[in-house]
Amino acid sequence: MAVIAALAGKHRITKRQIRDWIAGYLFASPFIIGFSVFIAFPMLYSVYLIFVDWDLLRPPSFVGFANLAQMFKDPKVNLSLYNSAFYTLFAVPIQLVISFLLALALTQKIRFRDFYRAGFYMPIIVPLVASAVVWQRVLHPEFGILNEALGWFGIAPRMWLFEPQLTKPAFIFMSFWMIGRQMVIFIAGLGNIPDSLKEAASLDGAGAVGRLRYVILPLMTPLIFYNMVIAIINSFQTFVPAMIITEGGPQDATLFVVLNIYRNAFQYFNMGYASALAWELFVIVVGFTLAQFYLSNRWVYYEERS
C-alpha cells in the first residue's frame, strides 16, 4: 500500500499528499461513518442475534444453533421460500421478455413513441402503496376491471385474490405492470448499438430476424444480465403488495420471505429467529447473484475496449 511504501521512505511524502489524504478521508467520512454505523455494525450485530432468543421484554438468552435448527424445519419458512422462488421464477423471465419486446417496438419507425413510453413508464411513479390499493380492486372478483375486461372475451370471472392457486399468478401478472425501469434501460441500450453493425449484417444478407439474432441480442446481453440480476434481487424482497393486498393469504399463498421475516420480528417479536431468517435470505440472494456472475461468462457478450 502507498502508505507503507511512503513510510518506508521509497517515496518522499509531500505536504500536499498528506493534505490530500486528510481531505480524502474527510470528504468520504459520511460514507465511512454511515457504512460502519448503519451497515457493518448492524450486520455483525445480527450475526450475534442468530444465536439468541430475544423478545425485547426479557434480556436476550443464548440458545446456540436452536434458531438455525428450527429454521430448517419450520414449515412456514419453507413455504415462504417456495412462494418467493415461485414468484421470482415466473415473474422475472417474463418481465424481461416483455420489457425487451416493448423496447424493441418503441425503437421502430412508428408514431406516438413518446406517448407509449410515458404510458409504459407511468406505473413506476405510482406510489407502491397506492398501486397495491388499486390492484387489490382491479383484481376484485365482482367489481374489478380485470374480470370485466376478461368478460369482453367471454372468459368467466375468477376469484384472483381468494383462491390460493390463483393468487401468485395474479401477483406475477401485477408485476408486469411495473417494468418501466427495465424498458428504459433496454431502450437506452438499443440506442447505443452502432448502425454500421446492423448495416454490415444486412449486407451479409441477414434479414430482420437475423439482425435481431446475431447483432442486437448479443450486444444487449450485458443489459439483459444487469436487468436480470436487479429483478431477481427485487423480486425476492417483495413486501408491500403482500402486506397490503392479501396480508400473506389466502392460506399463506402470498407469504413471501420478507413478509415472514417482518412478522417474526415485529409481530411475534422473535428478534433472534427473524435475524436467522434474514441471513438465510441474504445467503440465497447473494448466492443467486454470484451464480449469475459466474454463469454470465457463458452467455454475456462483453465488447473488448481499447
Binding site: 502507498a2 500536499r16 489524504w21 448492524p42 412508428i110 411513479i125 376491471i145 439482425r211 402486506m243 441474504f282
Partner: protein, 327 residues
C-alpha cells in the same frame, strides 16, 4: 451554464416532455456527443423505400402498441375516475368509466375521515430532509472518490459498490434494535439520519461518474489546497453537475415518498405517519368506500405526476445511466 456541457443531453429548460431519444447517450459523462438517428429499425434500412409488407407490419405494431399503452394506463385512470364517482357508480355493472357528475365531495370526505393534511405535511418534512441528506452526503463522498487520491480509496469504493447487492432486510432487525436503544422509535430520525451517511450507493456512484467526466483543468486553475476543496466542489463542480444532482434528488424523492416498510416499523403514532401509512389506514378502515380510498390514493399520486411531468428526463436519464454500470 449548461452550454459548456454539450454531452449532457440537450437543454433542460422548456422541453419538459422530451425523452432521451434512442441513440442519445443519456447524461453522458464521457464527453461523447449525442447521435442523431431517432429510431433503430430492425426492419429495413433508413432511406430504403418501404415495402407493402413493412407498411403492414408497422401498422399492426402501431395498433397493438396503442392498445397496450392504453391498458397500462387503465388502472391509474380507473383509480382517478373512481375517486370522483358516487358509490353506486363504483359498484355498477357494466363498469362506469367516467362519472356522470364528478363528485369532488369524496376528497372532502377523505380529508375529514383521517388527518390527511397531517400525513402530507409529515411526508414533506421527512422526504425533504432525507433527500437533502442524500444529495449533500453523496456529493461529498463522490467528490472524494472522483477527485482526491488517498490510501484506502479503492477499498472503500469497492465496499460502496458491494452494498448495492445487499438485501436491506439483513439490517432490518439490528437497525431497529439500535434505534430502539437510541430511543428513536416513533420519531422521524430513523427515516432521515441514515441517509445523511452517503449509504445510497447508486447515488454516490452516479455522482462520481458525472464528476469524472468534468475536465480537471477547471479545478487546477483554482489552486487547490485542503481548505479550498469545499469551495471547488461548491463553486466549480456542483454548478456543472445540475443534471446529475437533479437525477439523484428525483430518485431519492421517489424512494422516500414510496417508503412503506421503514415508517411501518418505526412510526406508531398516527400524527407522525407519512402518506404511505395513511393510505393503508384508509384501505383498512374504509375498505368498503372505494371512492374515498381512491381519492386518498389520488392525493398521494398527484405530486408524483407533477414531478414526473416537470422532471421526467431526469427519471429516465438516471435509469438509463445506472443501467450502463461502469461506463
Amino acid at each position: 451554464m449548461r452550454s459548456d456541457r454539450p454531452s449532457s443531453g440537450g437543454d433542460a429548460t422548456g422541453k419538459g416532455l422530451e425523452w432521451p431519444r434512442a441513440g442519445e447517450q443519456a447524461l453522458a459523462s464521457d464527453g461523447r456527443s449525442a447521435a442523431t438517428e431517432p429510431a433503430i429499425p430492425i426492419t429495413g434500412h433508413s432511406g430504403a423505400s418501404r415495402s407493402i409488407w413493412e407498411t403492414f407490419w408497422l401498422t399492426a405494431l402501431q395498433i397493438f402498441m396503442t392498445f397496450l399503452a392504453l391498458s397500462f394506463l387503465t388502472p391509474t385512470f380507473w383509480m382517478i375516475s373512481s375517486s370522483l364517482k358516487v358509490s353506486t357508480e363504483v359498484f355498477a355493472h357494466p363498469i362506469v368509466w367516467l362519472p356522470k357528475d364528478p363528485h369532488w365531495n369524496n376528497y372532502v370526505k377523505a380529508f375529514m375521515l383521517l388527518p390527511l393534511t397531517t400525513f402530507i405535511v409529515n411526508t414533506l418534512i421527512i422526504v425533504f430532509f432525507a433527500v437533502l441528506g442524500t444529495v449533500i452526503s453523496s456529493a461529498l463522498v463522490a467528490y472524494s472518490f472522483a477527485r482526491i487520491r488517498w490510501p484506502g480509496r479503492n477499498f472503500w469504493f469497492g465496499l460502496l459498490l458491494a452494498t448495492m447487492m445487499l438485501p436491506d432486510v439483513v439490517t432490518l432487525v439490528p437497525r431497529f434494535l439500535i434505534f430502539k436503544n437510541l430511543r428513536w422509535i416513533d420519531t422521524w430520525l430513523p427515516l432521515i439520519v441514515p441517509y445523511w451517511g452517503g449509504i445510497g450507493a447508486i447515488y454516490v456512484f452516479l455522482m462520481r461518474q458525472f464528476f469524472l467526466g468534468i475536465p480537471m483543468e477547471l479545478e487546477d486553475a483554482a489552486e487547490i489546497d485542503g481548505a479550498n476543496r469545499i469551495r471547488v466542489l461548491l463553486q466549480i463542480l456542483l454548478p456543472l453537475s445540475k443534471p446529475v444532482i437533479a437525477t439523484v434528488a428525483v430518485f431519492a424523492l421517489l424512494q422516500h415518498y414510496n417508503d412503506f416498510m421503514n415508517p411501518l416499523i418505526y412510526i406508531n403514532s398516527m400524527d407522525k405517519w407519512p402518506l404511505a401509512l395513511g393510505i393503508r389506514a384508509y384501505n383498512d378502515s374504509y375498505a368498503k368506500n372505494w371512492e374515498v380510498v381512491f381519492a386518498a390514493s389520488t392525493v398521494m399520486l398527484t405530486p408524483m405526476v407533477a414531478i414526473f411531468i416537470v422532471a421526467q428526463r431526469y427519471f429516465v436519464q438516471g435509469i438509463a445511466m445506472t443501467g450502463f454500470g461502469g461506463r
